[in-house]
């Protein structure tokens, strides 16, 4: 079993696995997202409170979940790379950061779109949206730090440390934002609450969750190939791979 783990530390092996898995991830992602979208946008009945506006949750909630999942993955990959000096971890972290930031942006935009019919404005300092915004800042910080170093190896290590520090802070930030919101809760501001879920609403939603995960997997595999090639460009196996 441990040989599998050691193999994962080898860049050429990871490159091969990523290249092979990507089409599978993408195919399954298209299927599950397709089912989720059709089921949620077309077939699920309108919510009795929010009407058709609630349908945005099919994109908003999975995006928000993925933004946090990807951040955690990025931090864990960075930690593995820092502690055990497994460089592929840095490649995974670097590949994941823009994906996670995009999910965060998607969550913010869809949240804002949901807000318009709910509150009448495109933005209100709702705890969920505020947390997502701060998460976006954390992503931008990690990406900026990585690119600010001339030596990419040091940039990777610095970004990994920052991602870990950020990951430790994310629960604190969540809690403080919820606390802050409860302090200043005006009667008119409603939270982006999920409507009570009926079965026909639930399955497409779950399918979207799975689909977004698979989509992340597909894009990660794609980006990971690029990252690994870039980082290992001096080594012999890359030259072989380019020739073939």
């Amino acid at each position: 079993m441990w040989t599998w783990f050691y193999k994962l530390a080898s860049p050429p092996y990871v490159y091969g696995v990523a290249a092979a898995s990507m089409p599978w991830f993408l195919g399954l992602a298209i299927l599950t997202i397709g089912y989720g979208l059709i089921g949620g946008l077309v077939f699920a009945p309108p919510d009795y409170q929010q009407g058709d506006a609630f349908r945005i949750i099919y994109v908003h909630v999975p995006s928000a979940w993925m933004s946090e999942f990807v951040y955690t993955t990025m931090a864990v990959a960075g930690a593995i790379a820092l502690i055990w000096r497994i460089k592929v971890g840095h490649a995974v972290a670097a590949a994941s950061a823009p994906i996670g930031a995009s999910f965060t942006l998607a969550a913010l935009v869809t949240g804002s779109m949901w807000g318009k019919p709910m509150w009448g404005t495109y933005w209100a300092w709702d705890p969920r949206l505020t947390s997502e915004l701060i998460l976006l800042f954390l992503y931008v910080g990690v990406m900026s730090l990585r690119s600010a170093f001339e030596d990419p190896a040091r940039g990777d290590r610095a970004a990994a440390l920052l991602a870990i520090v950020g990951a430790v802070n994310v629960p604190i930030i969540h809690y403080s934002v919820v606390w802050w919101n409860s302090l200043h809760q005006a009667a008119t501001v409603a939270k982006l609450g999920k409507p009570s879920i009926a079965g026909s609403m639930l399955w497409p939603l779950l399918s979207m969750f799975v689909g977004f995960m698979l989509f992340y997997g597909a894009v990660l595999c794609l980006r990971l190939q690029g990252e690994v090639l870039n980082r290992e460009r001096q080594s012999a196996w890359v030259r072989e791979a380019i020739k073939s």
Binding site: E150, D151, P152, A153, R233, Q234
Partner: protein
């Protein structure tokens, strides 16, 4: 019988800086009573090697050990036995020469002001003891950093271009200090462009690209 268990051993050290393979499997050893002169053209990794030996830079592959123990796991003992002088004299401009010594040597061993002034005298800058370091010339600063090395009373000296900015009297001083240190059983790793003519056991490590 492992004679290398007493001294510094560098074992197949590899360092990459970005794309450049700066140190390609460098191995060497320095025993007490020896001086290793690291030379080579610019950019061949002399300073990088010194930083790896000091422990500031961890090599991608390879290891450095002191008295048989890795400098990573035995970091505290190794650093206590080490005096490092980088190419920059490493002095705080707003502190006097004496204060600079006090705050850096003082972290390694307790020493009195008298001892520190003695070290400054030995390197010929006792007149600068109470002057802020920013008013000293480059040569004087080099001498103060040498005084720091002397005052630390450490068995391992790692010196990067100790002759830089010094006149012939200063160069003689450095050579004298190195000879005395090695004769007393210490070991030294010296990075220097120039040729060294020393009355002690000198081995040479030539780095080329």
């Amino acid at each position: 019988m492992n004679s290398t268990a007493d001294g510094l051993m560098v074992d197949k050290v590899h360092v990459w800086r970005g794309d450049r393979h700066v140190l390609q499997g460098v191995s060497t050893q320095v025993r007490p009573g020896e001086l290793l002169h690291v030379s080579g053209p610019n950019g061949t990794g002399k300073t990088t090697l010194l930083r790896v030996v000091s422990g500031l830079l961890r090599p991608e592959q390879g290891s450095v050990s002191w008295r048989g123990q890795s400098i990573v796991s035995g970091r505290t003992e190794y650093q206590a036995a080490l005096a490092y002088a980088a190419h920059e004299p490493a002095l705080k401009g707003d502190l006097t020469a004496l204060e600079n010594l006090r705050f850096s040597v003082g972290l390694k061993r307790r020493s009195s002001a008298v001892e520190l002034r003695g070290a400054l005298e030995r390197t010929g800058v006792s007149a600068c003891a109470d002057l802020p370091a920013r008013v000293l010339s480059a040569g004087q600063r080099r001498r103060v950093s040498l005084a720091r090395v002397v005052a630390m009373q450490a068995p391992v000296w790692l010196l990067d271009e100790p002759y830089a900015n010094l006149d012939s009297a200063g160069s003689e001083l450095v050579s004298g200090l190195l000879q005395a240190h090695v004769a007393a059983g210490g070991l030294a790793l010296v990075v220097a462009h120039r040729e060294l003519t020393l009355a002690c056991r000198v081995r040479r490590l030539e780095l080329n690209s």
